[in-house]
Amino acid sequence: MPERITNIRKGTPGNAVHDVGGLDFGPVDREEHDLSLYEKRVDALLMLLAGPKNSAFRVDALRRTVEDYAEQEYDGTPYYDRWIRAIRNLLLEQEIVTEAELDAKIASVCDRLEAEGQIVSRKPVP
C-alpha cells in the first residue's frame, strides 16, 4: 500500500471515502496486470447477481457498500476484494444467504482445501 495523506479526507464533507478527485495522492499508478482467475470470478459473480435475470441488487448498491468502508479499510483493500466483500455484505443485507449459511460454507471449503494440502487462512474477513 503506498503511503498516502489519509487525514486529508477527514476535512471533506460527508462520508465519501472514495471521492478523492483533486486530493494529493501522488501520481496515478498506470501499471496494468492480467486479470487472475479469482478476479474474473468475482466479476462474473457480480454480473450474475446484478444482472436483469437475478436482480439481487444493483451495481449502485455495490458502490454504496464499497464506499461505506472506513478509510483505512478502503485504502488497504485491493479492488476485487472490495467487490467480493461488498457482494457478501449485500447477500446478507438482502437476506439471500444467512450469516450461518455463509460461515458453514466457508468452513467446509477451508476443510476441503486443507485436506488437499493447501494452507488456508481462517481469519475472519471484515
Binding site: 471533506t12 460527508g14 471521492d19 483533486g22 436482480s55 439481487a56 441488487f57 448498491a61 458502490r63 454504496r64
Partner: protein, 114 residues
C-alpha cells in the same frame, strides 16, 4: 424480485438544454451520491443530454430509482476547477451529472468571457 432496467421509464422532458450554463449544487449528500466534491459549486456547460436513468441515489438502497432523473454531460474549464492549474487554458473536463444536482447558472454567476 425483479427490477426492470432502463426501459419504460416515463419522465417529463429534460430541464436543461445543450449549450446551457449550469451550476453544480454545493450541498452535502445525505447518502449514496455520484456527484464528486471537486465539482460542487462549479459552473459548466451542458454538452449532451444522455437521457433519463433510474436514480442511483435510490437504486443504491434497493429502491426502484423512480422518478427517473435526466443525466447530462457537462463540460468544465480545468483552470476554473483547480487552484494554480498550470495546464493549458483550453483544457476541459467532462462529467456526467444528474439533474437534481444542477441549477441554471444565474446571470450574476456567469463570469465575463467564461
Amino acid at each position: 424480485m425483479s427490477t426492470p432496467f432502463e426501459k419504460d421509464i416515463a419522465t417529463d422532458g429534460p430541464l436543461f438544454s445543450v449549450g446551457e450554463r449550469v451550476r453544480v449544487d454545493d450541498r452535502r449528500s445525505l447518502g449514496h451520491c455520484r456527484t464528486p466534491f471537486y465539482l460542487r459549486g462549479k459552473e459548466g456547460e451542458v454538452i449532451a443530454i444522455e437521457g433519463p436513468f433510474r436514480d442511483p441515489e435510490k437504486l443504491a438502497y434497493h429502491k426502484p430509482g423512480l422518478p427517473a432523473a435526466y443525466l447530462y454531460r457537462v463540460r468544465f474549464k480545468q483552470d476554473e476547477m483547480w487552484h494554480g492549474y498550470d495546464g493549458s487554458a483550453r483544457d476541459r473536463l467532462e462529467a456526467d451529472l444528474f439533474e437534481p444536482w444542477l441549477q441554471k447558472a444565474s446571470e450574476s454567476d456567469i463570469k465575463g468571457g467564461a
